[in-house]
């Protein structure tokens, strides 16, 4: 059984049409489009228009209050040749993505595995671990984070017990971004729940068979759990990366919308938001958005390309 699921790695797009009772093309296409209909209506009716508009606006000078003026590629040219903050914010965001996503996913998977052992009190633990994610990014979180990571905060009080005098983590430009990475990891509830749901879908009889064969737990994890979990791992990795690239609220709340100290938490979308709503440059902000889309798009396309080598679907 294990072997069969391991070798079935071909994604849907390469699959030949399954032998079906419908022969005509119309009959082939109709069911799919019928099921897709609500999404299609929403996509064409509500989403495409605003997206195309923002693409158009990225080629204009638009101050929100008067009509946009066409400026060609000026916004894009300025971004790459004459905007230090663009590069700063890109660097901050990249750093955040690279460190927060893998750590958060590893943490979420480890806790999900731990909680999937059928231990007593599972629902309680699961609820407790999800709590930080319930809090979202409210004003309360900003206050709390300062109480923990300020110079006289909780972390430094603990460090003082072992004789270390720590800096003010949250307001020191060298460390401030790390406090946001910690915040992101701390709110690992969503990927954890998704991992748990994925683990629940792995049939227990596979493990039973494996332990009868005398496979060690580590081997079971490598040979059964991980391969069968790859669709979910793939999903979480893609989604968390996209979300991290677009991450806005934590930095907005904690830095009061400034991205300070010294722009060390100036996330890309925070910069975009400032340009759009504080400095009235919606045209430029739209250009920033489409550059982000291109970056994230390339990353996602690459992930999908590699997925056929490591994501295992049951087909």
């Amino acid at each position: 059984m294990t072997a069969r699921s391991l070798q079935s790695g071909a994604p849907a797009r390469e699959r030949a049409a399954t032998p079906s009772i419908w022969s005509r093309i119309w009959q082939n296409d109709a069911p799919g489009y019928l099921f897709l209909l609500p999404w299609l209506i929403g996509f064409i009716g509500l989403t495409v228009g605003p997206m195309v508009t923002s693409l158009y606006l990225s080629f204009t000078d638009f101050d929100l209050l008067t009509s946009p003026d066409w400026v060609g590629a000026d916004n894009y040219i300025r971004m790459f040749t004459n905007d230090a903050k663009f590069w700063t914010s890109m660097r901050v965001t990249m750093f955040f993505v690279i460190f927060s996503v893998p750590l958060k996913l590893a943490f979420a998977l480890a806790v999900a595995m731990l909680l999937n052992r059928g231990i007593r009190g599972l629902p309680l633990y699961r609820a407790l671990f999800y709590l930080p994610s319930l809090l979202g990014a409210s004003v309360a979180i900003a206050i709390l984070w300062r109480q923990i990571f300020a110079g006289d905060g909780l972390v430094n009080k603990l460090l003082l017990l072992v004789g270390i005098e720590g800096p003010s983590w949250i307001s020191n430009p060298q460390y401030s971004l790390w406090t946001l990475i910690v915040l992101s990891i701390w709110q690992f509830g969503s990927p954890m729940i998704i991992f748990l749901a994925g683990l629940r879908q792995i049939p227990t009889d596979m493990y039973e068979a494996a332990s009868l064969d005398g496979a060690s737990k580590w081997r079971q994890f490598i040979k059964i759990t991980l391969p069968l979990l790859t669709p979910v791992v793939f999903f979480n990795a893609i989604i968390q990366t996209i979300e991290a690239f677009k991450s806005f609220t934590p930095a907005f709340i904690i830095s009061g919308g400034t991205g300070n100290p010294i722009n060390s938490t100036l996330f890309y979308t925070l910069y975009l938001y400032q340009e759009a709503f504080a400095f009235f440059r919606m045209g430029y902000a739209s250009a920033l958005a489409w550059v982000l889309l291109a970056v994230v798009g390339v990353f996602t396309a690459f992930s999908f390309f590699t997925s056929k080598y490591w994501v295992h679907y049951d087909e």
Binding site: G49, L65, T258, F277, F280
Partner: protein, 429 residues
């Protein structure tokens, strides 16, 4: 007007797919006696404002529908509604944004209503002037306030230092700071926060030197040397431990609960006269207000009576005259004034001021007296700042002051850099 239609036409076109199907639904502007009012503030302000709209409804039969938001939420919503052609009739406006909105016709000039629907007979001249952009009246000041130092008097007592008076100078702060440090108040409270990134404090300091933050034609009103001197002044205080460290100062992100005053890290901080009540509410120590420090004894003219906020009328409003009538009621009616108090600043009509003075609380009295008796500290009202002033403050001054504070840049380097970057921002906008 044509411009506005063009924009809406364009945005409509972009969503033509749906708009076509919904052409019949085009929402009619309320032609009836109903005005929409949008303002920022907390509950205290909302309660007072709603009480006035109730009074107005009872007196004139016009329904004013008020909505309030916190400062950070207010501007995106207003911009979205304005861009969507759905701006409220009456808009609370800030000194910082009034030029931006006025120059783009998002708010309407009110001159035609003055003397008619809008009675401003005994309105303070400087407050009227403050609401003008390019010579036309775009905003009615809802109150005057002044910059002021919040002073934690309890901390001063603990330090055994006399609380500052209106004659406080920057040099005296240095001496006070040493007294604070040797008294070791509460494990290291400093006498003042790091004000190098505070735009009002820089402005006040420049004005005492006979300079200005911005000139009337929207240029920078000072040179690199002045800026270098400013950064040097604060670097000295930082190194002497008179003001708080850069790390502590960076905790301040704007909201009250992040300020050095509330966190107990500094005994004085620059703020505004109308915020005394707000700060006192979240502090156990007694606080009061005093003037910003002087360059030297006898040097004044740094302060001015700033319109704390305006009411403006949307350029797209179909009920401009009715809106102007409401504004008139808001700033003149004695009953309304009694309800509003000095929550938005000191009322601009002399009659109103006299009427409400006896009814005020102790803290409100302090604020009123402070603004009314600035004496030699008072200078002329500066021209309204250029549209890019906000960007220079948020993305240049504050960040640069942190760079100097953390030692990433020297004051001698930061001065010329500021002027170069600020000029670039002004030229771009």
């Amino acid at each position: 007007m044509t411009i506005r239609i063009d924009r809406r036409h364009f945005l409509m076109g972009s969503s033509a797919l749906i708009a076509a199907g919904a052409a019949g639904i085009s929402p009619a502007f309320a032609q009836a006696e109903r005005l929409r009012l949008l303002f920022w503030g907390g509950q205290a302000r909302a309660d007072r404002t709603y009480a006035v709209t109730d009074l107005y409804q009872a007196a004139k039969g016009t329904d004013v529908e008020g909505e309030f938001l916190a400062w950070n939420d207010y501007w995106p919503k207003l911009a979205t509604q304005t861009a969507g052609g759905n701006a409220p009739d009456i808009i609370q406006m800030d000194y910082r944004y009034i030029v931006e909105y006025a120059q783009r016709n998002a708010i309407a000039p009110l001159d035609e209503f003055v003397g008619g629907a809008l009675k401003l007979d005994d309105f303070d001249a400087d407050q009227l002037e403050g609401g003008k952009v390019d010579g036309s009246l775009y905003g009615i000041s809802l109150g005057a306030n002044s910059v002021a130092l919040m002073v934690n008097t309890t901390a001063f007592e603990e330090a055994g230092v006399a609380a500052p008076t209106r004659d406080l100078t920057y040099d005296e702060i240095m001496a006070m700071g040493e007294a604070f440090n040797s008294a070791n108040v509460r494990g290291g409270m400093k006498v003042i926060m790091d004000g190098s990134g505070s735009e009002p404090m820089l402005d006040n300091w420049l004005r005492q030197k006979g300079l200005a933050l911005y000139t009337a034609d929207g240029k920078l009103g000072f040179d690199a040397d002045a800026m270098t001197e400013w950064f040097q002044l604060w670097s000295q205080m930082r190194e002497a431990g008179v003001c708080v460290s850069a790390e502590d100062q960076a905790l301040d992100t704007g909201p009250h609960e992040t300020t050095m005053l509330v966190l107990g890290k500094a005994a004085m901080m620059p703020s505004n006269s109308n915020q005394l009540v707000g700060f006192q509410a979240v502090m156990q120590d007694d606080i009061t207000i005093s003037s910003y420090p002087r360059l030297a004894a006898g040097v004044g003219g740094g302060h001015y009576r700033k319109p704390s906020m305006f009411f403006s009328v949307a350029g797209s409003s179909a009920n401009k005259e009715a809106a102007a009538e409401f504004l008139s009621f808001f700033v003149n009616d004695p009953e309304a004034a009694a309800v509003l108090g000095v929550e938005r600043g000191i009322p601009c009509s002399a009659a109103v001021r006299d009427a409400i003075a006896p009814t005020l609380s102790e803290q409100d009295q302090i604020a009123l007296n402070f603004v009314a008796n600035l004496g030699d500290l008072l200078g002329p009202l500066p021209p309204s700042p250029p549209a890019a002033a906000g960007e220079i403050d948020i993305s240049l001054l504050r960040t640069l002051s942190q760079e100097v504070g953390f030692g990433a840049r020297s004051p001698e380097d930061a001065g010329p850099y500021f002027v170069k970057e600020a000029t670039a921002i002004l030229n771009r906008a």
